[in-house]
Symmetry: C2
Subunit: 378 residues, 2 copies
């Protein structure tokens, strides 16, 4: 029998929390950042390279994997951990967000959502029950309820309707999960309610009544300004139970992560470090650096001589510039690696700062270093 | 002072040779296969991953690197070894082959070749002297003379003209190399003469008179059948000095490599393992396998459970199929890695077989295993 799913709150510093999540595939120190492995791979990186950046958990996408290669096929091959050779914890999203953003011709009904696959045009149905089934077939340590995620801005009526549908789906998700739950595997509910604090509070309280292993805040980073996002986070986290992990979905920039941790968030996922890395952008202690810029062409300095990761210490900016200009795969691989390593270093720094009750100082010092910028030595 | 360049012939088995090349950046066991690092990177692979396949030397392309980022720039950044973080030996080609195959609007003259860059349309000149200068700026352990490489079939007149021009360029290359040679760095001459044995012999003898550290056979694998290529190899190698390494340029398939080693070749380079890997093809003990084929979709077996490389033992064919169909970068990375590892395993097998005087048996057994094919267990 696996160790049951658990969250231990180790320390608080203001609203910021230092904790540990225990799953059947190991522990995750929080605040945690989860690299995104959309199609059963963190793009371009061997799993051991992902682990070497410091990642302890990755995210898999239900929408992509259900369409290709299919959840039943992955289950027959031993589950997603084995399929992608990632022995550590995996969280899977429910597919709801991608159904809305990627598929054409979707029909939303009480029972679920029917959509046309972006791969082969086939009509596919996803219900709360099927989303749970798929995530169980994948073997996710942490599964997410199916929700309806809408963009912002939206009308109050539309936000209310989607939030209430998501709540009814939350209840069905919980029932389906209990029906097939294996020991130690977890299900998170997702708070919806757009940019409306009252609807967010209503959603959070109703989810707590249903009871989940953790609580996500969904439907943010969908077009609204950062201050709106942070306001919703700040007003939602105090409602959520202190003894459950809190996950802000699809967020964000390094600055977003620090600001959200300051407001009580424990977990994040985002494509930024890998997607921007594939387009020549590095995230570093000195802020974001665009390697495609000609000023790097003769710069022999590494991106960050103090990085925890050799890739950021060894390769010159001139080499990374060359690989970017030449559109070489290794440039995408190196910058994805360097960015994930920086994100993990940032998370580790936050964890350490919370543990020693100096999170505010850490946040200020980190922002000052970003603002100082990428000074070129002569 | 570096150890001088040296070739030690350790053992012969028929015409097949087991040897060792010593360069300023370390020793290379022969027969050796050199992965191709065209633009300062073996596509998609960290240099430590290239070394982990067993490679002891890589090839860099003068043509690509002179155009981007430029030889002078790489020299200012500490040379190609440092630029690409590859501490082991590097051989650079002279650029002649790519000028012919990649650039439009080239003008061939006695002095050299002027061509339009495929990158920015600039007119660029490459002479034997400049090719030597570029390779010295890159810091190549082994440099190649500039030659004129023509396609086959070609008229006797055309083959003769190109061979004689290449000889005059060989002489100028040698002179330029002596003028700037650093201790231990080597220059190879290139035998030309198309598919004509008499011209090949004339070319080889004239090169030996000039005197090089090693001898390449160029202008093959340019459209002629394998038996024509092997006949030229078999008739050329006996003319070449036994105490110098012999390099068959741009070759080839695993079968080509074995057949050429059987005819006295010590060194190879080819894009096949990486290029075909990027297109979903694996080279294995069981022959070539197209991972894009639907029959692999549910196959839980690894590509080769006996491989020396974990990537070939760990990942299922179903996963590699999935990555190939999803056009995921990791599929290209894994198959490039697996293919390079197979090529190195094949070379190591040949070296061991020659050392124990059973090369013919090894060749027959290897071919039998390829022919047996990729049997699917039920």
């Amino acid at each position: 029998m696996s160790e049951p799913f658990a969250f231990r709150l180790l320390k608080s510093d203001g609203a910021a929390r230092r904790g540990e999540i225990v799953t059947p595939h190991g522990a995750v120190q929080t605040p945690a950042f989860m690299p995104v492995g959309t199609q059963g791979t963190v793009k371009g990186l061997m799993p051991e390279a992902v682990a070497a950046t410091g990642a302890e958990i990755v995210l898999g996408n239900t929408y992509h994997l259900m369409l290709r290669p299919g959840a039943e096929r992955i289950a027959a091959l031993g589950g997603l951990h084995k399929f992608m050779n990632w022995p550590l914890p995996i969280l899977t999203d429910s597919g709801g967000f991608q159904v809305m953003s990627l598929s054409a011709l979707r029909r939303l009904e009480e029972h679920g959502v029917t959509f046309r696959s972006h791969l082969d045009g086939a009509m596919v149905e996803l219900s709360p029950e099927r989303a749970i089934e798929i995530q169980a077939l994948l073997g996710a340590d942490i599964a997410m309820q199916l929700d309806e995620c809408i963009g912002l801005p939206a009308t109050l009526e539309e936000i209310t309707r989607a939030m209430q549908l998501s709540l009814r789906w939350a209840e069905r998700s919980k029932r389906a999960f209990k029906g097939r739950a294996r020991d130690g595997y977890a299900l998170f509910g997702i708070v919806q309610g757009g940019d409306n604090p009252a609807l967010r509070a209503e959603s959070a309280r109703a989810l707590i009544d249903i009871g989940f292993d953790g609580y996500a805040i969904g439907g943010l980073a969908v077009g609204e300004p950062q201050d709106v996002m942070l306001k919703i986070v700040a007003e939602t986290t105090p409602i959520l139970p202190a003894d459950r992990p809190r996950y802000l979905m699809g967020v964000g920039t390094p600055d977003d992560l620090m600001a959200a941790v300051a407001r009580g968030i424990d977990m994040f996922d985002c494509v930024l470090p890998t997607r921007n890395g594939r387009h020549g952008m590095a995230f570093t202690r000195h802020g974001a650096i665009n390697l495609g810029n000609a000023r790097h062409a003769t710069d022999a300095r590494p991106l960050d001589e103090q990085s925890t990761h050799p890739a950021a210490r060894i390769y010159s900016r001139a080499y990374l510039h060359h690989l970017t200009k030449a559109n070489e795969m290794l440039g995408q691989v190196l910058l994805s690696t360097i960015n994930l390593a920086y994100y993990q270093t940032l998370m580790a720094g936050m964890r350490e700062a919370i543990a020693s009750e100096r999170f505010a100082d850490f946040q200020a010092a980190t922002k000052a270093q970003w603002a100082q910028g990428d000074i070129v030595t002569m």
